[in-house]
């Protein structure tokens, strides 16, 4: 009797935990779409804050350039090394260049750059807005008849979305250069044929699909960071939690949506 009760309550507790978790998930998704919707709504309303946009674009784009460039270049170098070793086995070394350029532009550069930006920018957005929330600075904006979504979120989300494609374009170039350097310097590939092979199978569509992905990822990671920060509760600890989960959530959503974007659109 007693054991049965315990088992029943254990089972109920289990169901309860599942229920609570899924409610939290729904809430999370709801907040994401609330911020997304409000951001779009306020983007097309006056006043347009060009200075703030520019400041954020520098913060996202220019300041992220070293880390994104480095990541991408080494990825290109590793890609060249690995595929060379593999392709050597069936004498297809000539296609290393094509594989490097295709996988970089279509997949690796956009995803890796976005993940780096999720860590660098998504977290700082969450920390910044979270601190403003818990110190009532966001309330103060409302009180001064300034919509915080418009003043804070719109330039940050906009700048991230706008800056990611050019960042990825640069990452593409650096990654391909990294692969080229390794192949020519270490593997003894012919520079001219390598260069030819790089572009032989590369469509405009490959590059543009990567850039579109990058813009979507930028939108996702910045909205995630902003919504985490905007709805922060619980003081300094809450800001810490928001920051961490902005990175985790942002990265997971980027990877999941990468699959669907690749499958459906391109």
């Amino acid at each position: 009797m007693n054991g049965e009760q315990a088992r029943a309550s254990g089972f109920n507790g289990f169901l309860e935990a599942i229920g609570r978790k899924s409610l939290e998930l729904f809430e999370e998704v709801g907040r994401f779409f609330y911020i997304l919707h409000a951001t779009i709504y306020w983007t097309f309303r006056r006043p347009f804050d060009a200075r703030e946009w520019l400041r954020q674009m520098v913060r996202v784009g220019v300041d992220s350039l070293p880390v994104v460039g480095l990541t991408s270049m080494f990825t290109g170098m590793v890609m060249a090394l690995q595929t060379y070793r593999g392709f050597e086995r069936f004498h297809a070394e000539g296609f290393v260049a094509s594989v490097v350029s295709l996988s970089l532009t279509r997949e690796l550069a956009p995803v890796l750059a976005s993940l780096m930006i999720a860590g660098r920018v998504g977290s700082s957005l969450a920390a910044e807005l979270g601190t403003m929330r818990v110190t009532e600075q966001i309330d103060a904006l409302y009180a001064m008849a300034t919509e915080p979504i418009q003043y804070l979120v719109v330039p940050r989300v906009g700048a991230t979305t706008v800056m990611l494609p050019p960042l990825v374009a640069i990452a593409n170039g650096l990654g391909i250069f990294g692969g080229y350097a390794i192949s020519v310097a270490l593997m003894g590939a012919n520079p001219v044929t390598y260069w030819e092979k790089t572009f032989q199978f590369l469509d405009m569509n490959d590059v543009s699909s990567g850039l579109i992905k990058a813009a979507v990822f930028g939108l996702i990671l910045s909205v995630t960071g902003c919504s985490k920060g905007f709805f922060t509760t619980g003081g300094a600890e809450g800001v810490g939690r928001a920051t961490t989960s902005a990175v985790v959530m942002g990265s997971v959503v980027i990877l999941v949506s990468d699959f669907f974007l690749t499958k459906i659109l391109f």
Partner: protein
Amino acid sequence: MAAGEPGDRMVATAAQARPKIAVIDLWKSFAGHEVLRGINLEVPAGESLVIVGGSGAGKSVLLKHLIGLIPPERGHVIIDGDDLTNCEPAHCLEIRRKFGMSFQEGALFDSMTVFENIAFPLRRHTRSSEGEIAARVRECLALVHLDKIENKATSELSGGMRRRVGFARAIALQPEILLFDEPDTGLDPITSAVIDAVIVEMREQLDVTMVTITHNMQSAFRIADRIAMLRNGQITAVAQPDVFRSLADPYIQKFLAGEPLEEEVA
């Protein structure tokens, strides 16, 4: 100035049939804890209302409802006939332009200097030249007895200085409605009297409506046209200072005398 006559004030108040602020049956709870339980309150234009009550009674929560920072569970806040609890986002902003608010902890923007904080509402909502803005900022700072701190970061200020800068920011635009959350807490008696003098001076202008929260009964009697007691989530008394002083309610008498209450409700 004719406005200085007390008789004129009475006539003007009576002529204004519609209250500037009307709170109707306002309810709010946080996680099951009922903070506001049916608040009803009217503040005529030009009145200076002081709200007093125990720590944690919900004074700050009530004040934030007045400007629409917190959505109520039930009830309405009507500003000049416009329902602030039920409006389009853009219209809400329009209504909020009538307000200036100083927060209990200052809520200064920590990414800006003192000057930029006070200039913020002026830059957002007026077309003043930089020279006019600078003059107004210095004027507001002088009113609260602060000078030579324009270019300091807000993190360099003491608690009392932060609160005074917050006060200066609230009055910078000369709004129709001013909300002050404990403007004189943590200030020495002389500076506190200076803040009171500023409030009294603004009260002389017929069109400024003020709601002030304070724990300092001395300043409450100095600045109030009426005093309201918030207790157990309701307004238990509203009266002119003289009447308030002689109310028979034992809680109010203990409150005024600063004596402990035996049967304090949790």
